[in-house]
């Protein structure tokens, strides 16, 4: 979400836009978030809940949109973006990034900065702006009408809501519990995709067979496009079943926005102001998180690198699976034929294997050893 907002074709401009974003007044950021949702994909006739039409909730009243447009669109950019174009990351993105424990780490950072000077004082006003924006947008009770608001007297705990949503969509909980090592309490819904992991792993294994057999000029080609299409169809059905009529779309948007803010904070080239303030400079996002985590005494997940590597490609893959593209056998070779998608499939297969410890490069009967980067 936020990473998409700063996207630019010029790296220098991208950095400038990121710093602008961190410096912005929280009301401005709130306006950007509301506008992004207002401009969401809305293809007429597309399946409600699917990527091309995430929900059909009533739009902002015209006078509110006019206000937002005036606020963020002085250069006419909101009109350039146009309605029906904004598509955010899949919920799996939020799940994978949250598994790094980035939220717990930065929550402790903010706690220390607002309660004393254990970490020193913020080194500049940009760090201070980041602290204010992060606290106000993500650790306060959101405006009750905001699209980010997922808190009420019925579901007062944001983290429990996110865990509930992850469990419903993927049948998985986060890999960490409470700070004292106990299981995090949250409601596990009966209607959840408990078969997601098993089906997805079979899908990855079949795609790997396709990748390793592609271009075979002799010998047996074990690629089974029909099996891949069948597994893709199962994934498509189970994911869309949780999204019927736009269910979970609003929550997904809020969770993805939250995690993308912290992901962006970690991956800024030349280190974000708050990273500099914490003297946690590094050339890699995962190393920055480890350094920050060490400063505040909260352990980041050892497989952070793998989770971050998985987040983007898995988000795109699941969106395309939800679109039903791989239900058609004719489209399946795109997964293992050399190209941008096959590159990302290799990334997913490799890092999923490392993150889970389960080998996705199994070739029906033959097992290969998982390479670990630890």
């Amino acid at each position: 979400m936020f990473r998409r907002l700063i996207a630019s074709y010029a790296p220098a401009e991208q950095l400038a836009r990121t710093l602008d974003l961190f410096r912005a007044n929280p009301m401005h950021l709130q306006a950007l978030i509301e506008a992004a949702y207002y401009l969401r994909t809305n293809e007429e006739g597309a399946e409600l809940g699917g990527p091309q039409r995430r929900d059909a909730l009533n739009d902002l009243p015209p006078f509110v949109w006019a206000l937002l447009e005036n606020f963020i669109g002085a250069n006419g950019n909101a009109q350039v973006v146009g309605r029906g174009n904004v598509l955010w990351d899949h919920l799996i993105y939020a799940y994978l990034v949250e598994n790094t424990r980035v939220l717990e780490v930065f929550q402790k950072v903010i706690y220390e900065y607002v309660h004393g000077e254990k970490l020193g004082t913020p080194i500049d006003s940009d760090s201070l702006a980041w602290l204010r924006n992060t606290e106000v947008l993500f650790f306060s009770t959101a405006n009750q009408f905001s699209i980010l608001n997922t808190v009420s007297s019925i579901r007062p705990d944001k983290q429990a809501t996110r865990r509930n949503n992850y469990f419903r969509m993927f049948g998985m909980d986060l890999n960490h519990g409470t700070a004292d090592g106990n299981a995090y309490p949250y409601r596990r819904a009966d209607a959840s995709n408990k078969e997601f992991v098993d089906t997805f792993e079979k899908f990855l294994q079949e795609v790997w067979v396709g990748i390793s057999n592609f271009g075979n000029s002799s010998g047996i080609n074990r690629t089974d496009a029909s099996a891949i299409a069948n597994l893709a169809r199962q994934l498509n059905i189970m994911l869309l079943a949780r999204r019927q009529n736009g269910n979970l779309s609003r929550e997904e948007f809020a969770h993805v926005a939250l995690l993308s803010w912290f992901h962006l904070t970690l991956e800024v080239q030349n280190n974000a102001p708050i990273i500099q303030s914490l003297r946690a400079n590094s050339s890699n996002a995962d190393q920055r998180l480890f350094k920050v985590a060490e400063k505040v005494g909260v352990k980041a997940h050892a497989k952070t690198y793998d989770f971050l590597q998985l987040a983007d490609p898995m988000s795109r893959l699941l969106i395309q699976i939800e679109d039903g593209d791989f239900n058609n056998v004719a489209n399946v070779p795109a997964l293992y034929q050399p190209g941008v998608l096959e590159d990302d499939m290799r990334t997913i297969i490799t890092h999923w294997s490392i993150a889970t410890g389960r080998d996705m490069k199994v070739q029906r009967g033959k097992n290969l050893t998982v390479v670990s980067n630890n």
Partner: protein
């Protein structure tokens, strides 16, 4: 008719004549078979050509389906993550931040 040769009896001539007639008949038959086979070969060649065209069409369609799927994925890369922006085009969405504008739309890769 066979020409009478010195030293050959009329009987021998008749035998030779019969043989000649038989050979002519066989030749005609073989020519007919050859022509028939030629026609068959031509028909089969035409059929093979038609099948080749059909296979190419199917292959083209299969290739197009794969290319379209990969292209859609590349579009998602740009649309969802904003990754891969180049001077050839800008993303489908980008909202201005307070002090900077989004890159201008340049068409090309994605123009919607």
């Amino acid at each position: 008719m066979a020409k009478q040769t010195t030293g050959q009896t009329p009987n021998e001539l008749e035998v030779l004549n019969t043989k000649l007639l038989e050979l002519t008949k066989q030749l005609k038959s073989k020519t007919s078979v050859a022509r028939s086979q030629e026609r068959q070969i031509k028909a089969l060649s035409a059929e093979i050509e038609a099948l080749k065209k059909e296979v190419n069409t199917v292959n083209d369609q299969a290739t197009k389906a794969v290319i379209d799927t990969i292209q859609k994925y590349a579009d998602l890369k740009l649309k969802v993550s904003g990754i891969g922006l180049s001077s050839e085009g800008s993303g489908t969405w980008c909202l201005s931040t307070p002090n900077s504008q989004c890159p201008p739309l340049k068409g090309g890769f994605l123009t919607t």
